[in-house]
């Protein structure tokens, strides 16, 4: 995939570089994802299964993390919420990554008018406070998962566009792009077969770090009641549901939040590890 890259074979003879953060992050993520995927088979309860005679129970043998105000098993709900939140997180990134990388490449490669237009576009999106836009757009475009996808399609590309634009602008000055041009390759071919493989690793690093921010945003929308809608389990709505019982049953809000932090740390570790690896090769 990177056969045409200008990358010198600088890898030290000691074999592959060690990147512990990458492996720690990956195993943390697997440790959450596997039980989440297997949730329907390993949990004795259904996520919406109420039991009004067993509400607000503290952690016990039957309910490892206790139950909420409707008698639903907290651990079951956290695992099911992982399924929702993680899949929405991944799906919501697809459009922004594609548009962001494309716009960034085009802006950096062609420069001039196109660059100015893309930069103005990015500056405008950045002018609105991130959470303000997310909240307003998610509400206006209809709450729920559809709103989340629309919101991030509109807002999320900026991060990628900025990074990729800078990279493309530097690559443009380098000989290998000039060589491709001298050979008379059309711009589209240069963009897709030469530039893209070289900006992609950096974009993936950004993707990992951005995923954590996106997850936090999804959860925040859920907490505010304009994200994922009940009865679909989601960490944000769970935190909001536990709020009235904060003084006595604090774990109802604390544990779903901890799940968010855990996932976010795993993603940042993966991002850091990947960044290390790219820097070293």
């Amino acid at each position: 995939m990177i056969g045409r890259s200008p990358r010198p074979p600088l890898r030290p003879s000691g074999g592959r570089p060690k990147t512990p953060p990458l492996w720690i992050g990956c195993s943390m993520l697997v440790l959450l994802a596997v039980p989440a995927i297997l949730a329907p088979w390993i949990t004795p309860y259904a996520p919406g299964q109420q039991n009004l005679s067993a509400t607000l129970l503290p952690p016990s043998r039957g309910h490892w993390l206790g139950t909420d105000q409707l008698g639903r098993d907290l651990l079951t709900r956290i695992l099911y919420a992982a399924r929702t939140d993680l899949s929405v997180m991944v799906l919501a990134q697809i459009i922004p990554v594609c548009t962001g990388v494309f716009l960034g490449m085009v802006a950096g490669y062609f420069g001039r008018g196109i660059d100015a237009a893309v930069t103005l576009f990015t500056d405008t999106v950045i002018a609105f406070p991130f959470y303000l836009t997310v909240i307003i757009v998610a509400f206006l475009s209809g709450s729920g998962q559809r709103g989340i996808y629309v919101t991030f399609a509109l807002v999320g590309w900026v991060v990628y566009a900025r990074v990729v634009r800078g990279l493309s602008a530097t690559f443009r000055q380098q000989d290998w792009i000039a060589a491709a041009r001298t050979l008379g390759y059309p711009d589209l071919r240069i963009l897709l077969r030469h530039l893209l493989p070289n900006v992609l690793p950096q974009a993936i690093v950004v993707l990992m770090t951005d995923m954590a921010a996106l997850l936090v945003a999804i959860v925040t929308l859920g907490y505010l009641g304009i994200g994922i809608m009940p009865p679909t389990p989601d960490w944000g709505t769970m935190i909001a549901d536990g709020r009235p019982f904060l003084s006595t049953k604090w774990w109802l809000s604390a544990l779903p939040g901890l799940a968010v932090v855990y996932t976010g740390i795993a993603l940042s570790l993966i991002g850091d590890g990947l960044a290390d690896r790219i820097r070293r090769t």
Partner: protein, 330 residues
Amino acid sequence: MTKESKRRAARKGGPSPIFIWLRRSLARTIAVVAAVVVAVFFLIRLVPGDAAKMILGEYATDSDIQAMRTRLGLDFPPRDQFLRFLLQVLTSGDTGKSLVYGVSARELIFRRAPLTLLLVGLAAVLAIVAALFLALLAATHKDGPLDHMIRVLPAISLSMPVFWIGLLLILVFSVKLRIFPVGGVKEGLGGLLHGLALPAITVALSQVPSLVRSLRVQILEVLDSDFVVTLRAAGLPSRRILFRHVLRSSAIPAVMLLGVNLAYLMGGTMVIEQVFGLKGIGTLLFAAISNRDLPLIQGIALYCALAVVLVGLLTDVGAGLLDPRTRAKP
């Protein structure tokens, strides 16, 4: 341009670089402001289907919907709608009358703004002080255990939802320890600061780690620079070098960084207002959302973006005047 400056420019062969740079920053800001106004206008079009129907709900009668369309100006052709909106923004700085309160959106926003601005300001000061302190610690103990601990912080804090930090702080400091109120502010300056302390700490906490990460690199650079080496060679005590010279030269980048992060800071503040029940712009926004008060939502978006753009321009220009190296290349 006055005659004098024209003559000076002619003598030097064109306007001075600083003038060109200032003019370019200003032009860029004006372009962004124009784009922001257009974006705010188009916000209302994000609504799937008819905005008037969305405001009034499913069971509204046709005549009600028609009345609402007239009220929002939706029955004009799109181009006229935009011109009317533009005229309104330019002449009165307003996005229309609030559908619920019947007052202009601008007035409602200005009434609520002081509390939000105070909260943002408090959080910014707290964040800068804490970040400078931690960055100094990390930079002077480079590669030690302390440095590693401080460097891991951003990964953790980036993944902590602000509202969740707020809830945990309420649990610990308001419910268990009873140091701060659970929400709201009381009368007087003391009550105000007492009520704002915990929300400001929450917002600051979410900012500190990313500030520390960038400041640490900057302080390390300063520590390696020639002037610090000279001061060391001159035999100044290292404490004095650190607090007098290094700290001073890294304070400007710290303030600049915060200017860049202001958008993020403001967003966090809005969410936190909701958690602590403070009557600022954030809670106004949530009220507007639950009332489906579109003109007010547009107004809040417009003024927040304007504030961000303005502060961005000020930090850019301020930093550029103080340190020419930070001026953006054309």
